[in-house]
Symmetry: C2
Subunit: 546 residues, 2 copies
Amino acid sequence: MSKNKLRIIPLGGLGEVGKNMTVYEYKGQIMIVDAGIMFPKNDMLGIDYIIPDFEYLRKRADKVAGIVITHGHEDHIGAVQHLIAEISAPIYATPLTLGLIEGKLLRNNATHKAELVTVNAGEKITVGPFDVEFFHICHSIPDCVGLGITSPAGLVVHMSDFKFDQTPVDNWPTDYAKLSEFSQRGVDLLLSDSTNAERPGWTPSEMVIGPAFDKVFAEAKGRVIVATFASLISRVQQVADAALKHGRKMALAGPSMVDNVKIARKLGYLDIPDDLLISIDQASQMQDHKVAIMCTGSQGEPSSIVGRLSAGTNRQFSLNTGDTIVLSSHPIPGNEETISKTINRLLRRGANVIYDAIAAVHVSGHASQEEQKLLFNLVRPKHFMPIHGELRQLSRHAKLAVEVGIPEENVIVVENGQVVELQGNKILLGERIPGDYVFVDGESIGDIDYDVMKERSQLARNGIMLIDLSVDKLSGRLLHDPEIITRGFVTSEDAEQLIPEVRKQIMNVVNGGGLDNEKDIINAVKSYLHQETKRRPMVFVTLSRG
Amino acid sequence: MSKNKLRIIPLGGLGEVGKNMTVYEYKGQIMIVDAGIMFPKNDMLGIDYIIPDFEYLRKRADKVAGIVITHGHEDHIGAVQHLIAEISAPIYATPLTLGLIEGKLLRNNATHKAELVTVNAGEKITVGPFDVEFFHICHSIPDCVGLGITSPAGLVVHMSDFKFDQTPVDNWPTDYAKLSEFSQRGVDLLLSDSTNAERPGWTPSEMVIGPAFDKVFAEAKGRVIVATFASLISRVQQVADAALKHGRKMALAGPSMVDNVKIARKLGYLDIPDDLLISIDQASQMQDHKVAIMCTGSQGEPSSIVGRLSAGTNRQFSLNTGDTIVLSSHPIPGNEETISKTINRLLRRGANVIYDAIAAVHVSGHASQEEQKLLFNLVRPKHFMPIHGELRQLSRHAKLAVEVGIPEENVIVVENGQVVELQGNKILLGERIPGDYVFVDGESIGDIDYDVMKERSQLARNGIMLIDLSVDKLSGRLLHDPEIITRGFVTSEDAEQLIPEVRKQIMNVVNGGGLDNEKDIINAVKSYLHQETKRRPMVFVTLSRG
């Protein structure tokens, strides 16, 4: 380990660098920033979600001085329960973020006690060798912060997810003064959100959603159902405002939505009068045009509320013809197909469906190119390291930095697990540590690896054939016809036609005396099936000699 | 069957209505428009491609008077080989489209002879009871036509994929005069492309790509590699123009690209001087900055040229640091993840990667909202039926028609397999016919159904466990320890830990005397595995009594 160097390690995030976690290390002392989850890609079969690899941290658990969380979205807090199961350190965050973490731990019956420490934007804490200044930034959730991290090796500004919204829903713009102050002190390194590095211009303010909702509420003849992420607290405020204005009551559906709203209201981050809120049961007793429902499931997942509404299988309430359903979110990359399918199904049920292609019912929470350039000019960092994006976004973000005047050799693009070392005027590549991610499937963590995933994909592509044989020990002949079943291979009718032929192939091997082991049969059957169907199912033989 | 009615049946296309095929029927006589394929969605595991369900046509094969193809893209010609294997009828198309069909049939060794009849834009043919006027429309392939279909039941204008490009690459704009002429005759029904019905404004002209390529070619220090669809003939022209201008030779990679360019040049649809073209081998002997390569694989599929370049496994040529690779296409919905992964890999290999988010190296070939509205005003149809889109795009397109003044009751939105009947002033819903699609996997067609797909998905989600038991016939006791293998379930290390416990569970059942059949064991193992892992693999037991 290099002395007097600040080591920075991005982790997690499915190729999105440092999306879910960034580790800061100085003289062996560690501070963790964020602990989030990612949702699996389409080719990660059967996986529930993904967490960063804690390998490096696990080995240095006693060196972790603290965990700092920048905001309350799942991709920043979702892995806290897993992290604190292995690493005991205080968690520092703003009130809303801590409230959401607490709610999450409760819902998941997290057994490990977390030490939660409230830090307000504008305050400074000490975490091991680091002085950490929390400063307010705008994003699509209130109470989001960036971090000014001072260590003997220099000053780092860590921008988490942000946008420069001049008219945010909570009227609390980004702390530009703080950014300028850092700039005057001299920023050695900036880490910043690359999500929208391919998007020119400025991201529209959350304010544009107001008029869009206004129009939807004014024109809707039936109920208005708005679906979004449970953690999009500011969207809840906007729907509540529209409901109030248009004389509708608002009901909430989805446990995480209900929980989060409760927490945000209690902490004063939502301004919703008590009598505006009703239960889903009360809503079902009212006239349709008096009701707004806010729910989760905007990504159209089959098991979500919107997914179930589209399939007609939601228990609490169902979709009526004439309902207006608003998908107030943008597809997470990879979810496009699912969302389209869901929209088609909702339309088929006679609903009026509003989504971001039709009206401005969603805006991004991330800075576009002009905002990213403004940030460079506000902070004027010596070095720049893009985070929160795949290599394509990071490369683009790096180019923007160079356009704005940061020397190319001072911009460092790395991937997860690559240690970056900062010392005074220099930024260098350190070693690589395990920076991959860990699959969570069911209750168990990490017992799925790439080999298992590859087997799943192979099973899925061509299915399986199972062959059960009983062979006479003495004569080597079959005691009865081979029993054969298939799954995921061909239709049962086609299997009926194929199986007699497969039996013949097996007979040929057995009677040809070539039955030294199951491999002979497997090979014969595989090559026959490939010749007939051009497919390669997994073939298994069980052989008993009686 | 209703007499004197024109019956119109959209088919094919994965929920994209009439995308791959539309059937016209009058007094039992049939004309087929287009015969294309679609590529599978992410949840269609192991499927190669999808063709329309020919069930209705198969039963009426002798009534099919002709097959009319509007243009040479895969989603309009890709299923011709399968169609003519079942239905014998002449194929009518423009010269380039026929050339591409011919090339395709040759490449696939199509054994069934096709009768190919050349029809030029501006000409009229008779197909059974239909007079069909071919008229030129702009799209991202030359020689594309719309159809004016006259039958005793009325005049239908069938707009295939189109855009109103005022400056197309081949200088041949849409035949506006013909559209106006139809309008004067009185159009009873318009069918038209809904692909971009959610996109406001005008689709940019193909011309904008010229300057974008110009910039790329001017700035590239190494080779320029441009990837696009093999059927995007006009893009080939644009790359050839840029290569010529910037003193580079052009090589082609990918058999379909090579074939298509040969056909298009022979027929005069590409203007490329002989000495501009070189082979890949020749290109590898030249200095990098003198070379442009045009290839397929712009969707980043692992087995495509670009996919292999990104993985370092392409045989003909590989990627050098400093090469500029241009992905001149837009992700087909569902391919976003694959393309992103490929872009990241190309960047990792040191290539400069240009795609549509970075520069205007691709524009859509489909009309946006303002063009769609212009079409309504040019054609002034009595009735309108949106095609080529999912329900979400069709609904949007229908709303645009109403905005422009077509009475709501004259707009009909249907899905594949829904018969629409036109008679004079009326448009009505007919019956539903099998309008689903047929999966093609390997060599075989249609032997994959939803049940097989469901099994594949189940295999993929949780994997399998196979248990082989030998039981003593007399005592009912196990002859040896159960043999257990898993695939796609847990890692081999975890399996090693789980399997002894599974054996115990099996012993409990067997020794408990409860071994009436394999079901008991399956149930015991399943419930144990679910309790331990919260997963539900498929469990199979083979049992032999010796």
